[in-house]
Amino acid sequence: MPISRRLLLAGGAGIALTGCGSNTGRGGEEGPGRPRLSHWYHQYGEPGTRQAVGRYAAAYKDAAVRIEWRPGNYDQQTAAALLTDSGPDVFEVAGPTIEQIQAGQVTDLTGLLKDVKGEFDPVILAPRTYRDRVWGIPQLVDTQLLYYRRSMLDAAGVRPPQSLDELVDAARRLTRKDVKGFFLGNSGGAGALGGTPLYAAGLSLVTPGGEVGFDDPAAARTLGKLRRFHTDGSLLLGAPTDWFNPAAFTQGLAAMQWCGLWALPQVQKALGDDFGVLPFPPDGPAGRPSVPVGAWAAAVSSRSAHREAAEAYVKWLWVERTDFQEDFAQSYGLHIPARASLTARAGRLKSGAAAEAVRFTKEHGYAQPLLWTAASQTAYLDALTRIIREGADPGGELKAVVRKASAELHRVRSRG
């Protein structure tokens, strides 16, 4: 609703009110039978992504799709917008979360995947599946990895670490006056690692049965070892960029860094062949390498005025248009496509470190379980931070987390 000068003069009282509710980009019809949809994306760092999604939307004929590109705290923005009628019709989401599903904020998209469900990697489909229904269509897969600088390891006589003990040891031996051994993020590790060390110990955050997956002495043993990065002084802290940006690694501030597959092109450009990638190394007798995978997925808001049109559009873009999906995953930064057939075709993933990363993801990938709520995650990360940085007793800290997480699991299991 445009605000005319007369309206402004006539209703001084009204400006704030009318201004707020106007131009939400939805609810209207454009032309006969062509609904208007608003589609939200978070801000991708790679240049060209925004233009690309605009191009995809423009190619859709059955609805006028308006792209909203949202920088900043995307999760908070969508969460707040989903409570109102002025939110998106279609939105990109790292979840959807169990709370969003249980509160009925997103629609059931199972039907859209009818013939192609088997193509999607079960690791990323599982956290979007609740009671056998799928609530988000994965758009691409993001993987996190350990990058190491070959020349620095050779100079220090260190081999690429194959176990957590070797990693701790390597970080210590690689630390020099101006180069730290390992960059695990400016907060010192908890945020970047999350549940990864638990999976490396052969445990999990939530068991398939919906119980806490790390109520085990092995958890405390593994997490306790992370403390040594700090006591050895081998971590880079307070870098200008955080762990998801490869700058600290490419500028030589650290010999190893925990980062994502998305950074691989940048690292390759800066260092050529002088680097390698590894999964998070295993620890303990039941341990196995661990590779966290995440995915952005497309979801449809239940409050959309055009639900069917929105679902049809999602099906068109994220199920049918494989050419766009391939372009999206491969042309702007490096990601693994969400579908096996596209991964097999992707030339950039066929050789070198990228191929290694794809193999690690396939063999060792784990995704944060759907039932692992934000409250559980906060309790866990708080404990992990205290263990790593303040030397708190891992056993005691974990006991409190198990209690909190059990209560959360009980809460979400007992709801609708």
Binding site: A16, A80, D178, N186, L236, L237, G238, T378
Partner: protein, 309 residues
């Protein structure tokens, strides 16, 4: 001037009432709609299980309050606030009073220095926090603070990441001092300029030495009402601390378990991915109650608004 008010004709009085509402109405409506309704709604939500909804149906009585008071991290956030205000309130008070006294004594360039010290107030907390985090106190060898340390041969310090000793407090306190000292300096300057010169003349005649004695017995007592207002504002501001904490310490995955003031804690509780709006509202109500109690107690104790004669 006739002192007795004239009675206005009825039509004119109606006219006045109309104009009164024309001017006050929009703001009253805005205040009600954007302040009082959300406030009341928040109190309402605090009695419900409101995950991802603002129109909850599951009434849980006082459960949210009980959960919050039993939550060690909420209690520790109150401790964080107490520690923070124990540092920031006296520090800002002393610094801004000192600046005001110094600027007030200047014979030349007073306006210049007043502007210079006041200028940081115009800077946003977010911008200042970002500058502090990325260039002044970053943890690598080319950060400003570490460069200075480097001249003396010291190792770089990870200012925001070291918990032993807790250097992050230095970063948090200095950014806020820099931002707000100038504002309170202006308040003190106004207070200083209201002290009648005859008080100083009388004191000088009675043999009071300039300097500490005059300050202690004339200036400081004469600034009492300004001081009370400044301390009150400082405490409320400390309670509302969010911007610099959030921008200095949070990362993409969350916030470390230390230096987490109440508003930051509630932000993650209610507005993060958890969206537990009932619990968050209960926290907001508790905080509002605490601020109200503290303010009333402080006002009583210091005699805020009492007439000075």
């Amino acid at each position: 001037m006739p002192a007795a008010p004239r009675r206005l004709p009825a039509a004119r009085q109606r006219h006045r009432a109309l104009w009164f509402w024309a001017f006050v109405g929009p703001f009253a409506a805005g205040l009600a709609l954007f302040t009082y309704v959300p406030l009341a709604w928040s109190v309402y939500l605090s009695f419900f299980d409101a995950h991802n909804t603002v129109s909850p149906t599951e009434f849980v009585r006082l459960d949210n309050y009980a959960t919050l008071l039993a939550d060690a991290s909420f209690r520790s956030s109150l401790v964080t606030f107490a520690v923070f205000s124990a540092f920031i309130v006296p520090a800002t008070y002393a610094l801004s009073l000192g600046l005001a006294l110094a600027v007030n004594r200047l014979r030349a360039g007073r306006a210049f220095f007043r502007s210079v010290f006041f200028l940081p107030t115009a800077c946003s907390y977010v911008v200042a926090a970002t500058v502090w985090k990325l260039s002044v106190f970053n943890g690598v060898r080319f950060g400003l603070a570490n460069t200075v340390l480097g001249w003396f041969g010291a190792e770089p310090v990870a200012w925001l990441a070291s918990t032993d000793p807790p250097w992050y407090w230095l970063v948090i306190i200095t950014v806020r001092l820099w931002l707000q000292a100038g504002f309170y300096m202006v308040l003190f300057l106004a207070g200083l300029q209201r002290i009648p010169p005859r008080l100083y003349e009388a004191a000088a005649l009675d043999g009071a030495r300039p300097g500490w004695q005059t300050f202690r017995h004339i200036t400081f007592p004469a600034l009492r009402s300004t001081s009370v207002a400044v301390v009150l504002l400082l405490i409320i501001n400390a309670f509302q601390a969010f911007d610099e904490f959030y921008n200095l310490l949070s990362d993409q995955r969350g916030y470390p378990p230390y230096a987490r003031p109440p508003l930051v804690h509630l932000y993650y509780l209610a507005l993060g991915q958890g969206q537990d709006l009932g619990l968050g509202s209960a926290g907001a109500v508790l905080l509002a109650l605490i601020i109200a109690v503290v303010t009333v107690v402080q006002a009583r104790w210091s005699g805020l608004g009492r007439r000075e004669d």
